[in-house]
Subunit: 768 residues, 2 copies
């Protein structure tokens, strides 16, 4: 863990230029607006280590799968989010030498992400090899208001240079995807136009025929005044440029404004893309940078009004959670049911930008309880729309009769991962998708969703569990062999407790929902006709499985064994490890990891977290004490769950440690991988760690409940959530908990188990 960025409540600040940190900083300072995202690459380009990243939501590529050894059932392709045309390009040339921070002396470098406003600033002084010195100040944002728009203000002040400064302002579509399996390029050009002060380039993907037009509209000032400039259009394949020339003397400052747009065929007819790009950039240029920036501030202020979490007394904790919330808002706005939340969002290529169980298990609560019911429902509908493909996926693996196995990794509902121990065996993902339906309904009260698709999904998943288990020949109980649980440091184990338990829970919940739905005879007959549901023939087996599925415990304790045979392992703890060998996934061979006791991420404890109200406190405590010391948190998704449980158990230090680990995971780069992009989905876990962990937010019998605690170093914290349409603000100080109702309906809730009714605009107060 290193603390490289300056702590600050609203800003991420980098002081000084460290090429070693450049890739990580490109990730940290990423911008996005839900429709597109951009790593913090330098406008002028950089010949050092860099990962160019401009991502346009919904645009992906079915790359040829790369497999060492093929297995039946593997997908033919791996979908990956695409790096699209580089639209930020503004490269100053002095004496015809392009500025390149790897090739000049850099001083007074400062980079700042202003999270309150959603803007990125960068400034530095560069001394070129010929002694020419300039001061550069760059400022950019991706508009939250006009989500196809972005603006850059790039100012170069001559410190000792006299002569012509040229600026290559360009759009470069000749993009490499670092993650391409066979070093192929995925884009080809369809058309381009280059004029004096504007340029437009439309590219299309070689497969799937996605089109994106990227446009720029350039304006230039000198010493703050509009100025005449020479501009030469230049083109080559997949590239267009307006080369601008301005003459300067020392102390003159030339500012290039670039109003850019990324227009996607996901949202417009292909033949209109360039027209639209022209219109969008023209409007932006007409509005001007400062007016757009005002809009940006307003849009973010609006977001923060609901989203912000305020922590007083701990700037690192404050910065962490704001950074997480900021990135979550940049990644997904919930407005488009076709989209989902990639593990790295728009900040890197890893994990292909696809949808994982992260969405249901970690992200749903944040979006549901801050953006609200419609956003959450869009996330459920995303999976409902993929149900048929999940059924086909299960069929490929030998299942039948409408059983569904949702893919581990997907862009369009088809599986696109190809490690047998994950693809075929990490099937607990199915359970998280069922759990999300339950979780949605209990928070929104929208039980009507069951009839809109929820029950179909539940039945299909229950059918899968029902076929995936069988009765042990030796013991007669129901067993599930050959699975990988959430702890991916075990593969192909038998009777992973978490998977068995979520299967059992799914069956029980589906049975419950069926009972409720059966009352609506019209719905029920349509449902059975559509799904071929055979009632007792299916439900009797489900009941037997739910009753009899294997759940072994550590003898004489309430500890559930993570899987059969777990106690044959050498029972070490994380403290026994040489720190130089951590993370073990970067130091140990896979077999050594697998046979070790070490846990990558919460597994039994993930189940305790989901189903907390089904276990007594003693059971939770014993399991926590058994598994926590063995857990390495080498998955980003782990600390948040431990934080929630530690807080519940009153383990303040552990809760805070885990909270900081999730909230500052990328800022402090715990797992040495920020260079690849940020851990977006686990950022929702940070919010969960705060709201459910410290805030003690729960739902009991349909009632919202809080049992807050406050870490001893904090003065107070504050968050908002929307529950069944009512927004409440929770403010926890060292002395008291205040819950305010910001809606026009009253709400019944519990604080420390005591019932309160909070009238609109009213606040109730309880002692900590």
């Amino acid at each position: 863990m290193k603390q490289y960025y300056t702590p600050d409540a609203w800003r991420i600040i980098e002081e000084g230029f460290d090429p070693e940190m450049s890739l990580a900083s490109e990730s940290i300072f990423s911008l996005g607006n839900g429709r597109m995202g951009q790593r913090a690459n330098f406008e002028e380009g950089y010949s050092g280590a860099t990962l160019l990243g401009n991502y346009v939501a919904g645009i992906y590529y079915p790359d040829k799968t790369r497999v060492g050894w093929w297995k039946n059932g593997y997908p033919e392709y791996f979908a990956k989010v695409l790096n699209a045309a580089n639209w930020i390009g503004i490269c100053p040339l002095l004496n015809d030498v392009p500025l390149d921070l790897a090739e000049c002396k850099v001083s007074d470098f400062r980079r700042e992400l202003n999270m309150k406003e959603g803007t990125l600033h960068r400034s530095f002084t560069a001394e070129m090899k010929d002694g020419t010195k300039i001061r550069v100040t760059a400022h950019r944002f991706l508009s939250m208001k006009e989500d196809e728009s972005a603006a850059i203000r790039y100012a170069v002040k001559s410190l000792n240079y006299r002569g012509k400064i040229k600026f290559r302002t360009f759009i470069d579509g000749d993009i490499i995807n670092q993650d391409s399996n066979y070093d192929e390029k995925f884009w080809e050009e369809t058309e381009k136009t280059t004029e004096k002060d504007r340029a437009f380039l439309t590219m299309k993907t070689k497969k799937l025929d996605f089109h994106v037009c990227t446009g720029q509209h350039i304006a230039v000032t000198k010493n703050g005044e509009p100025t005449a400039f020479d501009a030469t259009p230049a083109e080559r394949t997949k590239y267009t440029e307006n080369l601008i020339t301005v003459t300067v003397a020392p102390e003159d400052e030339v500012t290039v404004y670039k109003f850019a747009a990324n227009i996607s065929s996901e949202n417009h007819a292909k033949q209109d893309l360039m027209k639209r790009a022209r219109a969008v950039t023209e409007q932006a240029a007409a509005k001007g940078f400062d007016a757009m920036l005002d809009e940006q501030r307003e849009a973010w202020a609006e977001r923060w009004k609901m989203n912000d979490v305020v922590i007083e007394g701990d700037v690192a904790a404050q910065q962490g959670i704001r950074f997480n919330i900021f990135q979550l808002n940049q990644t997904y706005t919930g407005e488009d049911a076709r989209l989902n939340i990639g593990p790295k969002g728009f900040t890197g290529e890893k994990y292909g930008g696809s949808t994982y169980w992260d969405t249901e298990a970690y992200c749903l609560p944040f979006y549901m309880l801050t953006a609200g019911q419609e956003t959450a429902k869009n996330l459920l509908l995303y999976r409902y729309k993929h149900l048929q493909k999940a059924i086909e996926n299960a069929e490929k693996l030998g299942f039948k009769d409408g059983a569904a196995l949702y893919p581990m990794v997907t862009m369009n509902g088809e599986e696109c991962h190809n490690e047998w121990e994950i693809t075929f065996e990490e099937i607990h993902r199915n359970g998280a998708i069922a759990y999300a339906i339950f979780n949605y309904i209990r928070h929104t009260g929208d039980s009507g969703y069951l009839k809109e698709g929820g029950l179909e999904v539940l039945v299909a998943i229950s059918r899968f569990w029902s076929q995936r288990v069988h009765q042990s020949s030796a013991e007669g109980d129901w067993v599930m062999l050959g699975v990988t649980g959430p702890n991916e440091y075990e593969n192909n184990v038998n009777n992973n407790w978490y998977t068995n338990y979520i299967a059992k829970w799914t069956l029980e919940y589906t049975l419950e929902c069926i009972e409720a739905a059966r009352g609506d005879s019209k719905f029920w007959s349509a449902f059975t006709a559509k799904t071929g549901f055979r009632d007792a023939a299916e439900t009797d087996r489900w009941k037997a499985i739910a009753r009899g599925i294997r759940q072994p415990r550590l003898e004489g304790t309430k500890v559930f064994l993570q899987q059969d045979g777990f106690t044959d392992k050498e029972l070490l703890t994380a403290a026994d490890l040489d720190p130089a060998e951590r993370p073990i996934n970067q130091h140990w061979s896979w077999d050594r990891i697998l046979r070790s006791v070490f846990i990558k991420q919460a597994d039994v404890l993930q189940g305790m977290y989901f189903f907390e109200d089904r276990f007594d406190a003693e059971t939770i405590r014993e399991n926590f004490d058994y598994y926590e010391p063995k857990t390495l948190h080498e998955s980003s998704l782990s600390p948040c769950v431990h934080a929630v449980l530690a807080a519940k158990l009153g383990r303040e230090d552990k809760a805070l440690e885990m909270y900081l680990r999730t909230a500052r995971l990328d800022l402090d780069d715990y797992n040495h991988e920020a260079d690849e992009g940020l851990h977006i989905t686990s950022m929702a876990g940070s919010w969960m760690a705060l709201v459910e962990g410290f805030g003690g937010k729960r739902v009991y019998d349909g009632k919202l409940s809080f049992e807050p605690m406050i870490p001893s170093g904090w003065k107070s914290y504050r968050f908002n959530i929307v529950y069944r349409g009512v927004t409440v603000s929770v403010h926890v100080t060292r002395e008291k908990v205040s819950v305010s109702n910001r809606s026009d309906r009253s709400i019944d809730l519990l604080i420390y188990g005591k019932p309160y009714t909070v009238a609109p605009a009213d606040t109730v107060i309880a002692e900590v």
Copy 2:
């Protein structure tokens, strides 16, 4: 199972041309001489499905590894045997149209592999699209006497054609390796010479700098008489050709003789390769085709004298075993300790032509007991030379202090396989390498080999086992977690019985050898100095492990459980499977295979086979009856072991079924994969099934023993083996067993447990 080839005692015969069978027949009719091998590709080329294959022993390529998902410890490259320059090319052109069996009417097609002589014949009538008809008779062999030499006689008789026949006689080095991971070509040209009737092309590999010069020397006759011919040299990159033109009338027959050579930098200085190729082809041409053929017959007769297994009364059984022995002789002659036995020999690219545990577990007995001690020792030395690399390999995986893990797949001692569940976990291979030392010594009596390297290998392997196990936290016994046994339809299991048992055995045998070696104090002090052996500190732990390693049994029986948790599976048998779903590895997803009870190849039974004398007959019977019905034999290495055990248990039908399955595996293509090449290593298992199964050959207390049985449909069978320098012939009829001593020393042996002394040239007879 299909019976496509005509049964015959000494020949494999294909009648009629079936393009569907073409790839499989290319494998079946392969030729080799230990130094090189050649699939039965057509001399004239073929535009239908074909896999060109010309392999030169010892030449391989470290191809870039292809991995879906990288794991620490994976090798950087995958070594693969290389398709080398195509040297067989002789393509007749009529009216300038090249002959291509995919493009003309073919009749009277016949192909014959003469196993007695080691020659391949092919004849057919072709009618070209323009009505031209010719009769082609091709005859070729790879010289067993001059192992860099090969000869082809290619005769074309005009049936109705009058005019010029051209022959492209060529060497084509522009070779594709089907198995190339990134579609790269691996060869580049270094030099070539093209003269009137001879041509030479030297190619080198892009990595490792292997050089091979391929040469041809052409002669032509017309109607049996030497004839003048026009010959035009032609060259292009990686290609050289002598284009021969002869004028014919109907009924004229033109015969092209091609004397070819493959000269490798493994055996000659690089600068001499072309000179050598010229000399070899010139000598061959001077000698002539018929004289070379006589030598070939003699060389094979010499081999068959020792190798042949004669079965009377069952032509399919006879053909099968001769085919196996023939291919084994073609693959490996034991003369070069740098070479080993690839699973496909010289008949295909699959498995990269590398060395697997097949060599020690299946191939050693055949070569040791037919070719003799020196050949067997070369196979042991091959591993001894790789010991240091095996130690380095173990270090990569976290082992230390001289522990060795031999690679799963190797060309030069380095691991080159990359599936974690195999590479890191299929560690029983280490045990087979220890077992081979034991097996060698008990058959040859050469216990001196321990001091020549054997003990070093044993200690290094014992150290590995010692570090790979630990004491169960729950039970206190020694456990080995996360392994893959010989049954690769299980992965990452705990306490695979076979692996645990061979580890136990290795430790015990090593301890025994240490005790013996300790007596030689000079050797012992050098040994401990070299290996850092710490005596009691190491041996005490080994003894504890050997005593206490987990070996669970099925309750109330003598059945060893294949691994922990085995009886939780659904206990089906192969008979429960839909035949349309077999082989399951071509129909089921991997997870389904893994959680099923079905066994790919003998696993517990492999242990019963190796260590038969450590188990009572009842234990062997119970284990056989438990595991045999669950075994699918989808590995070629399985039926031989079952055949030996079935014979021992007096299960004649099962023994015969298993014998035929191994001996005719490729001829009858049980596993639908003969197109990829032949299962060379399992062919040694066929010999084992006959000699150890039906022949009941064993070694008890240093004495050779036979307890033969004879399948009821057979009249008799006969085989020879060399034991501690004495060659014995065993002849089993329905009534009696005769054992003849063909050496000049007498031998003590057992027949049905009764002791005999057989004097030189004498025969003893026992009743069946």
